[in-house]
């Protein structure tokens, strides 16, 4: 029984194509494994660098960086509770940015001069000034005009406006990715230009724009740290600098925050990859 089974196995004829495919797969697997090992080594080296160990080689004594584990234990919870706020700001801001970006992109494609001008003016003004300045503007400059915004509101407004201006390019590309034939088919059915945009062009543009918007969201997670500058939004960065400065343990505090940012980025990048694969699976 087992003998004949073995024989069948060995009789399976491998084509040259199969062999080449197998060899390529092997090369790819070896490469991936080696990359993973190197990553692990780099990570170990980083951990070692912050391990606080003292060692000597050939009479020379070396000291690695010492972290105050007591401080970390005491404050990691306080800093971690900023993760939710950071994600919250980013979600609110990306929603605002998406709406503004879509409007700006539509304006950019408009043939009506004031609308086109409004769109390009907005994008130029926002892209021509620093995000840091914009956050301060909404939080510190507007009160002088009698408009007082909370730190959270000013932050979301600034991040939303800023990202909206940059993301308008994404939506513009999305809108122009919808071919002329699609518009003609909609018009030939008797749709008005409005119906054509709403039912045919924008849905397709949005599908096209979802993956790059995911990338912007990941960037937003990190730029949301700037909102801590207002001093009134208790997100990751604000919490890290608060305990860090107060106890002169900025090293530990910032490392904790960095780890959280990094983990968030990794998680959302993973989700983003899945989203992209899911979107690519669909039509067209």
């Amino acid at each position: 029984m087992s003998l004949s089974g073995h024989r069948n196995e060995s009789q399976k004829i491998l084509t040259q194509g199969d062999l080449i495919f197998a060899a390529q797969n092997r090369t790819k697997r070896i490469f991936t494994t080696n990359v993973a090992i190197s990553w692990a080594l780099l990570l170990l080296f980083l951990l070692f660098l912050f391990s606080g160990i003292t060692f000597s080689i050939g009479g020379h004594t070396f000291k690695t960086i010492h972290l105050d584990t007591e401080f970390i234990k005491e404050n990691v919870g306080f800093i971690a509770s900023g993760v939710g706020v950071t994600i919250g700001i980013s979600i609110l801001s990306i929603l605002l940015a998406t709406i503004l970006a879509l409007l700006a992109a539509l304006g950019r494609l408009s043939k009506i001069p004031p609308i086109y001008a409004l769109s390009t003016f907005y994008v130029s003004l926002i892209r021509g000034t620093p995000l840091y300045l914009q956050i301060f503007f909404f939080f510190l400059a507007l009160p002088q005009l009698g408009i007082i915004l909370t730190g959270m509101f000013a932050g979301v407004l600034a991040l939303g406006l800023n990202y909206g201006a940059y993301m308008s390019e994404i939506f513009r590309a999305g809108l122009s990715s919808v071919g002329k034939g699609q518009r003609e088919a909609a018009l030939a059915l008797g749709m008005t230009p409005n119906q054509m945009m709403r039912r045919v062009v924008i849905p397709q543009a949005l599908r096209f724009s979802i993956p790059p918007t995911g990338n912007e969201f990941i960037a937003m997670l990190k730029d949301s740290a700037l909102v801590s500058a207002t001093g009134f939004v208790h997100e990751l960065m604000w919490r890290a600098t608060r305990v860090g400065r107060a106890q002169f343990h900025n090293l530990e505090a910032l490392i904790i925050a960095a780890v959280f940012y990094w983990i968030m980025t990794l998680v959302f990048s993973g989700l983003q990859g899945r989203l992209e694969a899911y979107m690519a699976r669909g039509d067209r």
Binding site: A186, G190, Q204, R284
Partner: protein
């Protein structure tokens, strides 16, 4: 019989290029009219001027009693063009199905959005027209999963679902692999037999010869010859028609 399409003194310029030169023609109800001609002769432009996907430069287009003169501008013009498009169904060379919608949604989209029909009714009409083109079994597929021939049949159903007075076909088989042309032509032949008024821009001389009531030959933006297939394939008057039909005669 009263014509259902009447084109009077149509001129079309692309910049300085004069692509349609004082074209006039009439099509009567239930007629199948094939327009043939070499690439660049202006035949697609002629078809696209009928539903104003191309703006005519001069002339009057009349479909089913609705007259649109190019001299009318502004809001009145937009309304007229909109009404004109409701009277004409169009099938494109590149199908132009909506990729984000399933087959049934593609076909019911027009009735729902343009005619404000309730969904159940629109789906019923869509299913009936998918059945007509033999695509009902693919009602829930997305266009990306269909072959070219299947896509074009769905596109025909989409145009039919609006119940137009006239069907315009702009080289409906030119983007298809040779083995897929037959299924589309079969559907078109069936529509012709059912009495659909059709204007077909095509390179398929076999189809024109078999199905058309009348063939119009276009060259350099002018109608150089027209008549029933027998006359045209048997006894052409113009040298350019002879050159065009060379391979199909005898």
């Amino acid at each position: 019989m009263k014509p259902i399409i009447k084109i009077s003194h149509l001129d079309k310029y692309f910049g300085k290029l004069h692509v349609l030169k004082d074209v006039s023609l009439e099509i009567v109800p239930k007629e199948v009219c094939c327009v043939i001609g070499r690439s660049g002769s202006g035949k697609s432009t002629l078809l696209r001027c009928i539903n104003f996907l191309e703006e005519p430069s001069e002339g009057i287009i009349e479909v089913d009693g609705l007259e649109v003169n190019v001299t009318v501008k502004g809001k009145q013009r937009r309304q007229l063009v909109h009404d004109l498009r409701l009277k004409t169904g169009m099938v494109f060379q590149e199908f132009n199905l909506f990729p984000h919608l399933s087959v049934i949604e593609n076909v019911s989209e027009g009735p729902i959005t343009v005619k404000n029909m309730d969904k159940a009714n629109a789906i019923e009409i869509a299913e009936m027209n998918l059945k007509r083109v033999g695509m009902l079994d693919k009602r829930d597929e997305f266009p990306s999963r269909l072959s070219g021939g299947q896509k074009q049949r769905v596109a025909i159903a989409r145009a039919l679902a609006m119940e137009p007075q006239v069907m315009l076909f702009d080289e409906p088989t030119s983007a298809l692999d040779p083995e897929l042309i037959g299924e589309v032509l079969t559907v078109m032949k069936k529509l012709a037999e059912e009495g659909t008024t059709m204007m077909v821009v095509t390179h398929e001389m076999g189809f024109a010869q078999e199905v058309a009531d009348r063939i119009i030959v276009l060259a350099d933006g002018e109608i150089i010859e027209e008549g029933p297939p027998d006359q045209l394939f048997g006894n052409q008057q113009d040298k350019r028609t002879q050159a065009l039909l060379e391979r199909y005669i005898n």
